[in-house]
């Protein structure tokens, strides 16, 4: 599609931002599809295994994980550790009461 056909409005959207978001959106969208497929597969094999070994059903956890359906690209959480800084005194030095 020609970029000239896009509705650009009054904002300067930025060429880099427009191109980049198309790539990111495709990546994220593919992640959602991939995540969904993985969940289906996991669910399928879980059912097959459980049918073969029904005794495990009562012992083990549910074959569906709690993050079922979540995109593997869904969040920063698993990767980023929250960075905690001590408050510098200058934030509040002006006040004493």
């Amino acid at each position: 599609m020609d970029m000239n056909l896009f509705v650009l409005g009054y904002l300067d959207a930025g060429t880099g931002s427009l191109i980049f978001q198309i790539l990111v959106a495709s990546l994220v969208s593919a992640g959602v599809v991939f995540g969904g497929a993985m969940t289906q597969l996991r669910s399928f094999f879980s059912r097959v295994i459980l049918r073969r070994r029904p005794e495990e059903q009562s012992v083990g956890e549910s074959p569906l994980s709690s993050d079922q359906g979540e995109s593997p690209l869904s969040s920063d959480q698993p990767v980023i550790v929250l960075h905690v800084e001590k408050t510098p005194e200058s934030v509040t030095h002006r006040k004493a009461a």
């Binding site: 990111v24 005194e89 006040k95």
Partner: protein, 465 residues
């Protein structure tokens, strides 16, 4: 047409503008925006967003009330008692505003529309919830089109939130320098290195900044343009991913000096605080104010007294981001309408900003209010920051019609603490001089000693002229 004035900050969007007539804010829609406005209404998007309290409601007025001739419609939006700026917000308020913007974008996509801008200035607290105030922010969604406002969203919301959460909460103040949001290359430099490896910030801030740099030289070249667009599914995935990235950003957990002031750190003891509350309550009850600014509000204890006394709008200003954030969360949790906890360093108050200094109003330009509460504040201005009492009085007069102010003498333990590490160069910091300086600007109506303390509360009225 008489007594109408165009609001100076409303000029960027050719779809319309905001003007004021006899103190009531109106929005004029240009004829060129008629198809989009009709789609907003007929698609049911307007009704959905208003019923979800995501969009400021409006009523359509007679077009003869337009400011100028080329009007398609004239709207009277619900009137907001106070307009705040994003650099005055706490972390949670900016985060809620970001999530509100994304919810609106998701709803718009379902109805064949999209947000054409994503400015944090377009979100304000209304009915104790963040809501979009710009009815003209909607555009037709064209299949294959990317989100025009993606860059603006990242600059106005994602970058400042990431910086506040992952680097330092004070970096929210970068909005004061960058009126169109924090540049992504700057945010990328300021964020911790490890954020490059996260899929949220790594993509939407770091890689995005790199893409901007890479294509900045090719903006006019056809080669720089993509050969295909973006499916609506991909668009929705992008919005979801932005939402998840924003949700993963947690409020900074720094302990600040003022966060537990009334619980553990105050100078009064319970009896003194109760006595002060009773005095303030009786002062406010005598002549209930409509609008109040509580300067140095801490967790908003006295702001809530003012609301209880009947004030329609109370802005609780404080310098401590933790206090403001805690107060904001309380406002949201308890749906405290008309209560606005905001960040402010009174020694460097919010300036007029933007084009010709008229786009965003300064603190004083958003006043004057009926009552300013300045409780436990004067010693911080006069002693910690060396502001002469006469200048404090003169500035306060520009902010308010009536002033409730607490005199804190040198004998007070908090003042002694302030003077413990520096020479006392404040021979003028005495009650008689305080009264004389304030009498040049205000008429002193009441003077009450606060039981159990050495402090005195004053009720003053600004002198005319």
């Amino acid at each position: 047409m008489a007594l109408a004035a165009r609001i100076p900050g409303s000029f960027r969007d050719p779809s319309g503008f905001v003007f004021s007539r006899q103190g009531v804010v109106h929005r004029q829609i240009a004829s060129s925006y008629a198809p989009q406005y009709e789609q907003l209404i007929s698609s049911g998007l307007y009704d959905e967003l208003v019923s979800d309290k995501l969009l400021l409601p409006h009523e359509e007025l007679d077009v003869r009330l337009a400011f100028s001739e080329e009007a398609y419609k004239v709207l009277r939006p619900a009137q907001l008692p106070f307009i705040s700026h994003p650099f005055e917000w706490s972390f949670s308020q900016l985060k809620d505003a970001a999530l509100t913007t994304l919810r609106i974008q998701r709803a718009a996509l379902k109805r064949g529309m999209t947000l054409k801008d994503a400015s944090a200035y377009n979100v304000q607290l209304f009915d104790a919830r963040p809501a979009l105030i710009d009815t003209l922010s909607f555009e037709f969604y064209e299949a294959g089109s990317p989100w025009v406002a993606y860059r603006q969203f990242c600059q106005h919301f994602l970058a400042p939130l990431a910086l506040m959460s992952r680097t330092d909460v004070r970096l929210g103040q970068l909005f004061r320098t960058y009126i169109d949001g924090v540049p992504l290359d700057l945010a990328s430099r300021l964020l911790p290195f490890r954020t490059r490896f996260g899929l949220g910030l790594g993509l939407h801030v770091h890689a995005h900044a790199k893409a901007q740099r890479q294509y900045s030289a090719h903006s006019s070249s056809d080669k720089a343009r993509p050969s295909r667009g973006m499916s609506v599914k991909a668009f929705q995935s992008l919005v979801t991913h932005l939402e998840q990235t924003i949700l993963s950003l947690k409020a900074p957990t720094q302990q600040t000096e003022w966060a537990d002031y009334y619980d553990a750190n105050n100078n009064y003891g319970k009896d003194g605080l109760d006595a002060k509350e009773r005095v303030v309550q009786s002062i406010l009850a005598e002549r209930p104010p409509n609008t109040v600014w509580d300067l140095g509000a801490n967790d908003g204890r006295f702001s809530r007294l003012a609301r209880a006394a009947g004030a329609r709008s109370v802005v609780a200003w404080d310098i401590d981001p933790n206090c403001v954030d805690a107060s904001y969360r309380q406002v949201i949790a308890h749906r405290e309408q008309g209560h606005f906890p905001l960040l402010l360093d009174l020694t460097n108050p919010s300036p007029a900003m933007g084009w010709a200094h008229r786009e965003r109003l300064s603190l004083a330009e958003r006043g004057p209010v009926d009552v300013v509460l300045a409780l436990g504040l004067i010693h911080h201005l006069a002693i910690s920051n060396n502001v002469p009492l006469s200048q404090v009085a003169a500035y306060f007069r520009t902010l308010t019609r009536r002033l409730v102010i607490e005199w804190v003498p040198k004998e007070d333990s908090q003042v002694r603490k302030l003077l413990a590490t520096r020479p006392d160069i404040f021979p003028d910091y005495v009650q008689a001089k305080f009264e004389a300086d304030f009498a040049n600007q205000f008429r002193i109506l009441q003077k009450v000693s606060v039981e159990g303390t050495c402090r005195t509360l004053y009720l003053m009225e600004a002198l005319p002229g």
